[in-house]
Amino acid sequence: VTITPELSTNLKGSVLEAIEQIEQAYPSLPLKVVPDGQGGAWVELTDVPLGTAWQQSTTFLIFLLPFNLPACDIYPMFVRPDLQRSGHGGLVEGLAVTQLSWPGDPSQRDVVQVSRRTRGSFAAQTAPQKVEKVMDWVRSQ
């Protein structure tokens, strides 16, 4: 993603910093950034590897970097809706397909919500750490 002057003036400093950290952590993954109108940004990472637990090899990952980072946790996160487990297919118990309205798509998109919130302190947690934590959990199912 290119941080244009326009994008830069629409985002809080902590959000810009988080985007830069994500870019550095995943230099080969396509990254889409859409301001949320409050100083935060919706982010879509694509081609995120899913590992061997799933029949699909990659997923998109959509999440909000809130305007009040780092006071606020980064959650929820959303992945592709057609996930099938490698062994017996289907989703993990507790996961379900839902619809997401976000400013990156003109209409609702089918997604699976995979993250609710971080337990304990999240103030010192970086955005890539949160992404890795969630993706580790997805890959371990």
Binding site: G37, F67, N68, A71, Q108, R117
Partner: protein
């Protein structure tokens, strides 16, 4: 030369500084304080984040030109730390005497020799401070080349202790209307109240009672923030609100658009606050702000307040005001009341008022789990559609019980706390107090005082490099860009 520069320091830091500078040896000692800064229209505050004592004989040594001085190594070390954290470096030493203090000619000569170089190295303002235990004078050099004295220092804690280079003349009389209360705190106390700017976040059942109390006390200026309008269900708790303010005749209509109109055109709560203030005391100025404190432009109205009362219960409001209290060193009281009723049986389980002291000592709302991360995220999401499609809110229209008498318990305690802080009578500078009215067993305590947990790594009130404590304008607020 500006006369509006103020140094703000927490009482605990001031006590540590004084204990280091004033020994039984009656000699001169040195230290450095590192400060954030806050600039608002015409007022600049330096906010002490850290006191660094200089060890006698190691960091503070006999000088060739003056009596004593900080060593080059110590100055370099502290200046580098200041630069790394974006803070202002102030060298401190003590003089004899009590109520008056000024730099000696050799002090001023040393400033003129050293500060141009320190300014270049730091990139931020630098300066010197000389103190007695009751007076403080400063000489601050700005990067642009201007040089400013520090006419007033504010020690925030149990009281608002004002230190100046020399004593100010004290008023002997106050207006007749203040005669009875001046018997408690004198004309000087009344003048202190008149000099203060107090922020009230939330002009609901709690905040509006506080507005009335503060205006009648004679506080100089109130900044009242609330985004809402008066509704029929507010009327039992809002002083002076009428059914016309709530447009009750429209709210009761069977015709939906009329009910919508009542919600849309009812009196804004901050407008009611202005009416209350004008009727209570024409000497009190009010800045009504019809907006959400989670918006940057609204929150900025608070950063030059002398005291804040937080009477809004959203997590965003708690988060923003909690951070302002520590980032700008503004003594703050979070006020609330709660009635807990068993949903199934209707039994009253708990009735209490709570007053939490913030800004002066570590142990903020964040350290104590009083900013619910789930609710904070719900409130952070941009609009109702996103909140709904992520299934966080069970029922946004559920309201908790609320009764004016319980609110009065909380507000009376909090505004009295403010009064005792302002006029110098004193109050606890930290701690959470719960005043329980139900259930109370015979002989059982109605007042519970809690010592809050203080997380040394807290991003708000801790001292880790990433914490916002005393950083003033040097750190972002957790607010929307609006």
């Amino acid at each position: 030369v500006t006369t509006n520069l103020e140094l703000h320091i927490r009482q605990g830091d001031w006590e540590r500084l004084i204990a280091h500078l004033f020994h039984d040896d009656h000699d001169e000692h040195g230290a450095v304080v590192l400060c954030g800064a806050s600039d608002t229209a015409g007022r600049r505050r330096l906010l002490v984040r850290e006191v660094v004592p200089a060890l006698d004989g190691v960091d503070y040594v006999p000088g060739g030109r003056g009596y004593r001085h900080l060593t080059g190594a110590f100055v370099t070390r502290q200046l580098r730390r200041a630069k790394d954290m974006g803070l202002i470096y102030l060298a401190v030493h003590n003089h004899g005497g009590l109520g008056s203090v000024e730099f000696s000619p050799s002090d001023m000569a040393s400033h003129e020799r050293a500060y141009p170089t320190l300014l270049t190295v730091s990139g931020h303002a630098v300066g010197g401070v000389v103190v007695t235990s009751l007076a403080l004078a400063g000489d601050v050099w700005q990067p642009g080349g201007t040089r400013e004295p520090i006419p007033m220092t504010v020690v925030v804690g149990e009281t608002r202790n004002l230190l100046r280079p020399s004593p100010m003349p004290q008023p002997h009389t106050s207006k007749l209307r203040y005669d009875r209360q001046s018997l408690l705190f004198g004309a000087a106390g009344q003048e202190l109240l008149a000099s203060m700017r107090v922020g009230i976040v939330g002009a609901g059942g709690v905040g509006m009672l506080a507005v009335q109390g503060l205006a009648r006390l004679g506080v100089g200026e109130l900044v009242v923030i609330d985004p809402d309008r008066v509704s029929s269900t507010n009327l039992p708790r809002l002083p002076e609100a009428t059914r016309w303010d709530a447009l009750e005749f429209l709210a009761r209509s069977r015709f939906g658009p009329l009910r919508t109109a009542s919600a849309r055109f009812a009196t804004p709560k901050v407008k009611l606050a202005r009416r209350i203030v004008r009727r209570a005391n024409r000497d009190t100025q009010i800045l009504p702000v019809a907006g959400d404190v989670a918006d940057e432009s609204v929150a900025r109205r608070l950063v030059d307040c002398d005291f804040i009362l937080l009477a809004a219960d959203s997590m965003l409001a708690r988060d923003v005001v909690n951070q302002i209290a520590y980032q700008y060193l503004i003594p703050t009281l979070q006020i609330g009341s709660k009635v807990v009723v068993d949903k199934a049986s209707g039994d009253v389980l708990d009735v209490y008022a709570v007053v939490r002291s913030l800004g002066c000592e570590p142990g903020c709302l964040s350290c104590n789990g009083l900013i619910d991360p789930v609710r904070l995220t719900e409130e952070t999401l941009a609009d109702e559609v996103q909140r709904e499609n992520q299934r966080y809110i069970d029922d946004v229209d559920v309201h908790a019980p609320s009764v004016i008498t319980v609110n009065m318990v909380a507000v009376g305690w909090a505004v009295n706390d403010f009064m005792q802080y302002a006029v110098g009578l004193g109050r606890p500078r930290s701690g959470y107090r719960i005043l329980r009215t139900q259930p109370v067993t015979p002989g059982g305590p109605q007042l519970v005082s809690q010592t809050p947990d203080a997380d040394p790594d807290c991003r708000v009130c801790g001292l880790a490099s990433y914490s916002v404590l005393s950083k003033g304008d040097g750190a972002d607020l957790p607010t929307r860009m609006r």
